[in-house]
Each structure stands twice: as structure tokens, then as C-alpha cells.
Amino acid sequence: MGYPHPSHAKEQPVLSKHFGDAGSRTVEGWVKRGGYEGLKQALGMTRDQVIEMVKASGLRGRGGAGFPTGLKWSFMPKEVTKPHYLVCNADESEPGTFKDREIIRWTPHQLIEGCAIAAHAIGAERIYVYIRGEFTFEYKILTAAVEDAYKNDVLGGNVFGSGRRIDVVVHRGAGAYICGEETAMMNSIEGKRGNPRIKPPFPAQAGLWASPTTINNVETLAAVPHILVRGAEWYKGLCLGSPKSTGTKLFSVCGHVQRPGNYEVVMGTPMRDLIYEMCGGMRPGRALKAVIPGGSSVPIMTVAEVEDCAMDYEGIVAKGSMLGSGGMIVMDDSTDIVYQVMRLARFYAHESCAQCTQCREGTAWTTKILERILAGTGKAEDLALLLDLADNMTGKTICVLSDSCAAPVVSAIKKFRGEFDAYLNRTKRPVMVAV
């Protein structure tokens, strides 16, 4: 993962190659490390050529949805009648995810370059980087890098002498998870409350200020310069599993492993390899119990499911979960699953924007039921109630925060029912629930 430990042999450091290397933070340093060649190349290509290249590479959105990036770019209007916008989603709030932070912290120019290429591809002159408010340190690094880029004509009215204008505006968030949702992000950038919008209309038709907009994740954009320089075929070739999942993925591994951190692996790498080899396995005397592979919004996986799971979009789906953001939370047998699920539900209850009835009330109710179960006063009907609430909260709302609260609850009850029952029939002692 680059730093503080060196990359593991089974890693494929593309995005993370310069993690830990403070010299990458300047234009000069980045150019020395081979940077901005991709942008120079892209400026000599047409919009369609860039889009086709990214399409061919198989790059998919790394923020969680996994939507094919080239295809998303192709939704933007061919003719620019209203200003086109690129929004870089640097809100990184999915619990368990901390990869984008590292990209910005160490290689801000990798991101800037990716944004600039994407802006060129979609016909945009202005890029909004929405960075979560809590990333104060990263914000300083990013703005310094942007300033440096302007000084060196990497950004501004005449990018690399091409006559092209590309501007970057860094917009800070203010502490709302929901602003990571693309339509809520656009509302936030417009100065409004970060409430998700109903779709249709889709951002490519009417996004920021009702103008065509594309929103991409930091990791997605950071991959783009490499695709330009090394070719789509190369990126497509980085594939160990399903051919629909290509390139590398940064997995933020946290939890009960010896070496938590960010690990960049080729798509399709076995999950066992990541956990036991790259991360050094469990703590001494402990065994694996459960893994949340892609940020807290995806179903929990059991040891059996982890055993022969290939880490790509299709591989994890085949095991009943989702790749999501790649925020991997590894839990050993000291973990109280019920408590973890309660803590996740509490997060969603805190972050709900309050628009949709099911989410606003359901996340809080789910949390209360779980807290009561932990406190030893749960009722026998509570599990059935939780599942019924989860059903009422899934597929019925403007955005998927509601679904995200339901997913871990449903999967935990399904796969770790015994733990819930232990609290309900009082064979397990109640737990102090911090307020």
C-alpha cells in the first residue's frame, strides 16, 4: 500500500505508486514522476476518442455503483449549448472507506490530471471538486496543488498552450454523508440543503444549475491518466476474474487485521490473499468471523463466503454482497455482530436527510430496536419487525440511504441470527450502549 509499509508483492501499485512520497504534491514533482503526459495526450484527441478509449478500458465507477465510466461520459450532449460541468466526488463518507483521502493527500495532481482529461472528454470547462469538510489537511494539500497547477498553466485559460480552458473549484462539504450522493452533492454545490433530487432528470441532462453534469469518484478519475498513457488494452488486461471488471481497485482494509491500510490489487484478486497475505491475517489467537467488503452499505459476508471470493464486481455479487466502495471492514471472533449492526444503523439514522418518510423514521426506529435488543429488553417479535421494516425501507425512496441501512440488518439477521437470539433469550449479557 505504499506507506508506511512497502507494497506487497501481490499488489499492483498504479494509483498508489507514490503514496508516502510528498514530492508528488507539486507540479514539478508530478511531472518528474511521469505525470501530466496523459493530459497532454488527451488535449490532442477529440472528445469521442477519449471517451472510446476509456470505454474500451472497462473502467467502472469506483465510488460504489460501478457504472461504466466511458458510458457515463457518453451521456453528455455532443453539442455544448449550456455549460457542461464535471463534479469530482471527494466526499468519501462511506464507513470503512479511506482510499480517496490517500489519493488526494499524496498525489493531488493525479486527481487533477484525471479531472482535466475527463473535463475535456465531456466538453466541460469547469470542475467542482467536492471534498468532505472533515478533510482539512487534504483540502490544504489539494488547494495548494490547484494553485500550483494554475501557476504552471496546467489549469486556467490556456492549458498546456492548447487554448483550452479548464478551471477547478474546490468546494468543501460541511459534514453530511448524504452529500456524497450525486444529486445531493449538486444541490450542496448550488448552496442549497444537501437533499437528493428525484431522477429523472438525470445529471447528464440537467445537473448543476440545470446544465449537463457528470459526477465521478476520485479513484475513478485518478485511473484516467494511466489509461491515456498506457492504453486501454493495458488497463483491460489487468483482470484476474470477470472480464467485466478490469483495472485495479484500492481496498481500504480496516478492522481486526495485522496490517490495516489501503491495498491496490488487480480486479479479481482472491479476498483470502488480501486478508491473510497482504494484511497479515488476523490478530494472534483470533479467527475471522465476518467481512463487510465494500463499505457499510453492502451485506455482511460470512467466513464461508469470503473463502473463495474473487474481489471484483461480479465475484462479490456471486457471494451475496457487493464490491461497493471497497471499504473492507474485517471482523474477528471477538466482534459482537449485533452491536456492529446497531452502530451502523445509528450512523444511517444520523445521516438521513429527512426527505423520505421510510428513511427518516425507519432508520431511527431500526436503531432503537437494535439498542433495545442489546440492552437486554428486546422482544421476540423484534427480529421479524426489523425484517419487515427493512422491506418497507428498500426500493421505495429517492436515494438508497434507506436501502443501505436495511442491507446490513437483513444480512446480519439472516447470517448471524444466533447472536440476535442470544440477546433475546437472555443467554448473552446486555451491553452498555454508548449514547
Partner: protein, 541 residues
């Protein structure tokens, strides 16, 4: 006008609706109400309450009917098992934090939460032993109280203030189940149209201080009427309890006021309940006003009118078309100066989000009706003329002391009025009138729209509408030309008779007007109001 029509089947019924219509409106045409909270035909649609989720064949998920536009051949089920389960789910979620306030909540009986829960909510709660979230009551301003605990966060109030009133003073504060409606610091809900948020609120969260604990919804009698505040002619509903007017609410009329009325009109109803009424006809007898019966009073009136001469008719701009018309006919045999009193207000207060809707400066409901009948508007000149006239007839007007002094110079003064007044003492004849809620009648608004208002409470004492008084004086006694017309016995007949004398209203009957009124024909097309909120895409109505 050709429109692109789309055929869609809702609950087995196929309707053809214009392209761009949301399913919820298409369903209305099929006679189906899709339960909803946040949707409102006069507000932009945010689809946040999730009550209107319906099942569309071939769609992967339930869709919100308020923002999903119809597609040719779509088959929609609003009452399928899935849709019903979704609605029951939403209702259950709404009730977990909603306080059990029904016994003390003003909205009870006209509450959309009560209605839908009764229809398809769960019979018992599963939210046991948990505390409901608490937010304190907040006084938002002149008339509106915000009971935060009851709020279901439909955001209709926020959207009304922002998009329709144009002053975004309300917002959603906080997140999750801690959310509530906040008002901007140091701001009050004192916009001239702010009272509408109370009507918009589906539950008893935003309530009127004026109406607080005055009556239960089921105690009220509701009557269709028209506001008398100005020449806009907003359609209203008069709510009476035990024959007392306790509340005025706007009545939907897409051509006039859509779903709104201004606070000035809304709060102006206490005068309708005044007790100091003229109870019986009074005739001047040896220097005193003596109560008498109508026969004698009408005889006395006929005598005064028969004498002829210079007559001045000073009429209120709030008198009905029937009354103004019949009184005018009554005095046709005299040298008549007929003038209508039109108070002018300080300013016009538009509701900016609705085209052609404002509190108008002409603060009388029937100025147009008077003008159509040939009434003049030069009040001061007419009052001066009255000071030396042979006969002055006051039709429900209030005079200043100076004006009363001038008028008393006339040879004979006949006062038709509702309330006792000082200047009546010297009148030859005082006749008790019904006010706007005690009679049937029509007004013509500034757009030439003739609108009916209906009687909402019994007329006190011996009061009668002015048209009845005029009709009661036998036409043969006053002007031979009028003898051919049949004497109207009802307001409807009086209306037809009066309309027959006005070219643009000729031939109209009450049946033609219905309860939404009708524009007088033969007027310039540019004056017809348009409703621009229609067909504006998913966010529009």
C-alpha cells in the same frame, strides 16, 4: 387546440390525458384518488412523502405517481397488494413519532393523516415503549403556530413560501427524525398570503391562532361563497358553527385563486357575526323611527319612489349584482344618479407564483357588477348631489360624518343597511338587509367573472336581501315599462332578470354559473386569466 394525448389504464379504467401529465392527475380523471401528502397541484412536486407509490406494470420498482409522467399504454395499479403495503408502511412510519394529539388537535376531522390511517393504516402500533421525538411549539408569526411534534415533513409549507409566495422564510432544519420546519432568524410569517400554509398542512402542525380551539371540524357547516375583500373574487368556503361564522377558507378555483386566499380576506369575517343589527323595517313617524312590518315599509318606499324627481342611489361595492340591479330598476322612473362606493386599499399584494392573483387595491367584490349596470364611481360628486336631491337611497353603505351631514340635506333618505348607525335617526325609512352570508347572490370580479355565493346562515330578525326589497315594490307603481317583467321571487330569478339588461350577461342563469363562476361573454380576450402552472413537466401540476 390539439394536444398530444396519452392513453393510460389506471385500476382498469383507461383515460386519455395530455402528454406530461403525472399519474396522480391522470388518476383523478379516472375518478381515483391516489393517497398523498407532499404533492399539491399548485406547488412544485418533490416526491418526498412516498405515499403515492403505485405499481406500474413492467416497472422494476413502485413509482411515485406525483412525478412520474404517463406513458402511452401504461398500466397502473394504485391499489395492488404491493402498493397498499407500501402505503401502510409509510403510515406506520409517520405515526411512530406523531403524537396522539387528536383529542386536542384542531385538525381532527379534517386531517389527512387520520383519513388515510383510518382507510389503510395498521390498527395497532408496533412502536412500543419508545419515546417519540420532541420539538417545542413555535409561534411563527401573526396567525400561524407550528406544532413541531405533529409535523410529517411534507414540506408543502416550505415550498409554498419559497415558490409561490416568493419569500423563502421557512426551511427544513436538522436531519433524520430530528428534522423540523424552521423559520429564518428574526423573520415572521407575515407575508400577506402566509395563512395558506395552514390550509396546505395536511395535519395539525401548522395551525391558525385565530381558529385555535374554536370548533371541531365536524361541527361546522360549510358553504360555498366568494370573498368580499377585494375585486379578485377568491372563491371561499364559509365555515359556520351554530349559525356563527368561525372561519373562512379558500375554495379551489383554478381560474381565479387556485387554492389560496390572502390573509386580509381570510381574517375579515367577524363583522358577519355582528349583533347590532337593524332588526325590523323602521318608518319615520312623528319624529321617531318606529318598527313596522314589511308590507307597510314597502308601501312607504313605493310612495317615496313614485314621487320621482332627482334621486341619488349610493350603493356599496359589496352589494350583489341582484341587489344593485333591482335597486337600479326600482329607481328607473326618477332622474337617477347611481354611484358605487369602492374603497381603495393601500397597495396591491400579489401572490407572485400564481398568475393574475393578488389582493387588489379595489377593496370591493362587485365593482365590475356595478359598472356593468351603469353605476358611476365618482362618490364625492354623488354625495354632493345628494345633499339637494329629492330622494337618496343608501344601499348598505357606511358614511363618514361629513358625508352623512351632506346626505341629510336631501328631501327624503331611505337607508337599506345591516347595522344600526347614527345617521339613521333622520331617515324616512330604514330597511334591514341581509349580509353576504345570509343571502344568495353573485358578484362580478375584475376579470368579468360572475360568481355565485350561497347563504351560509339564517338571516337575523326581519332582514331581507335588497333585491327582494326592490322587487317588493310593485312595478306598476314606479315605472310602466317595468310592468312587463315578472317579479322575481328568488335570487335566481332576480339574477336572470338583472342579466337580461346587461349585454355581456344576457341569458345567464345560476345553472350556467355553477359554483366556479363564468366569464361574461363579449369581453376582450386579453382579460381572461390563464393558469400557467399547467403542463410544466414533472415538477408542475
Amino acid at each position: 387546440m390539439t394536444k398530444d394525448l396519452v392513453n393510460v389504464t389506471i385500476d382498469g379504467m383507461t383515460v386519455a390525458v395530455p402528454k406530461g401529465t403525472p399519474i396522480i392527475e391522470a388518476a383523478k380523471q379516472a375518478g381515483i384518488l391516489v393517497p398523498h401528502y407532499c404533492y399539491h397541484p399548485s406547488l412544485p412536486s418533490p416526491a418526498v412523502c412516498r405515499m403515492c407509490l403505485v405499481e406500474v406494470e413492467k416497472a422494476p420498482k413502485l413509482v411515485p405517481a406525483c412525478v412520474t409522467t404517463v406513458v402511452e399504454g401504461q398500466v397502473v395499479h394504485t391499489d395492488s397488494e404491493q402498493a397498499r403495503r407500501a402505503r401502510t408502511g409509510v403510515l406506520e412510519f409517520l405515526l411512530i413519532n406523531h403524537p396522539l394529539d387528536c383529542p386536542i388537535c384542531d385538525q381532527a376531522g379534517e386531517c389527512e393523516l387520520q383519513d388515510y390511517v383510518f382507510q389503510e393504516g395498521r390498527s395497532g402500533t408496533r412502536y412500543s415503549d419508545y419515546a417519540k421525538r420532541y420539538n417545542p411549539v413555535e409561534d411563527f408569526g401573526p396567525d400561524v403556530l407550528y406544532v413541531a411534534n405533529r409535523c410529517i415533513l411534507c414540506t408543502r409549507c416550505v415550498r409554498f413560501m419559497e415558490d409561490v409566495a416568493g419569500t423563502p422564510v421557512l426551511n427544513v432544519s436538522e436531519r433524520g427524525d430530528r428534522a423540523y420546519i424552521g423559520i429564518d432568524e428574526d423573520q415572521l410569517l407575515d407575508h400577506p398570503w402566509a395563512g395558506n400554509v395552514v390550509d396546505l398542512c395536511p395535519v395539525g402542525s401548522l395551525i391558525s391562532k385565530d381558529f385555535l380551539h374554536k370548533a371541531r371540524a365536524w361541527d361546522l357547516d360549510k358553504t360555498a361563497s366568494v370573498c368580499t375583500g377585494c375585486s379578485q373574487g377568491c372563491n371561499i368556503t364559509v365555515d359556520t358553527r351554530d349559525n356563527t361564522v368561525v372561519r373562512l377558507r379558500p375554495r379551489p378555483n383554478l381560474e381565479v385563486n387556485r387554492h389560496f386566499m390572502c390573509d386580509t380576506g381570510r381574517m375579515h369575517y367577524r363583522w358577519m357575526n355582528r349583533g347590532d343589527r337593524i332588526e325590523a323595517p323602521l318608518v319615520q313617524d312623528s319624529g321617531r323611527l318606529v318598527a313596522t312590518d314589511w308590507d307597510r315599509a314597502l308601501d312607504r318606499l313605493a310612495g317615496l319612489v313614485e314621487k320621482g324627481g332627482d334621486a341619488v342611489l349610493l350603493a356599496s361595492g359589496a352589494a350583489s349584482l341582484e341587489s344593485l340591479g333591482m335597486m337600479h330598476r326600482l329607481l328607473a322612473g326618477t332622474r337617477l344618479t347611481a354611484v358605487v362606493q369602492l374603497p381603495i386599499g393601500e397597495s396591491e399584494e400579489p401572490l407572485q407564483g400564481i398568475p393574475n392573483l393578488a389582493l387588489r387595491q379595489e377593496r370591493a367584490p362587485n365593482g365590475e357588477g356595478a359598472r356593468l349596470l351603469g353605476y358611476g364611481t365618482d362618490w364625492r360628486a354623488a354625495v354632493k348631489t345628494a345633499s339637494s336631491a329629492d330622494l337618496v337611497v343608501l344601499l348598505d353603505v357606511t358614511l363618514t360624518d361629513a358625508e352623512a351631514a351632506l346626505v341629510s340635506g336631501a328631501a327624503a333618505v331611505v337607508v337599506l343597511g345591516t347595522v344600526q348607525a347614527q345617521e339613521l335617526a333622520s331617515a324616512a325609512l330604514v330597511l334591514p338587509l341581509t349580509n353576504v352570508v345570509e343571502e344568495n347572490g353573485t358578484f362580478v370580479n375584475r376579470d368579468q367573472r360572475v360568481q355565485r355565493y350561497k347563504q351560509a346562515r339564517t338571516a337575523p330578525g326581519m332582514s331581507r336581501p335588497a333585491w327582494w326589497v326592490a322587487a317588493g315594490v310593485a312595478p306598476t307603481k314606479v315605472a310602466p315599462t317595468l310592468a312587463l317583467a315578472p317579479t322575481p321571487a328568488t335570487a335566481a330569478q332576480a339574477f336572470e332578470l338583472v342579466c337580461s339588461t346587461i349585454p355581456s350577461l344576457a341569458g345567464l342563469t345560476y345553472a350556467d354559473l355553477g359554483l366556479l363562476g363564468r366569464i361574461a361573454s363579449g369581453m376582450a380576450p386579453g382579460l381572461a386569466p390563464t393558469h400557467a402552472l399547467a403542463q410544466s413537466g414533472p415538477g408542475g401540476s
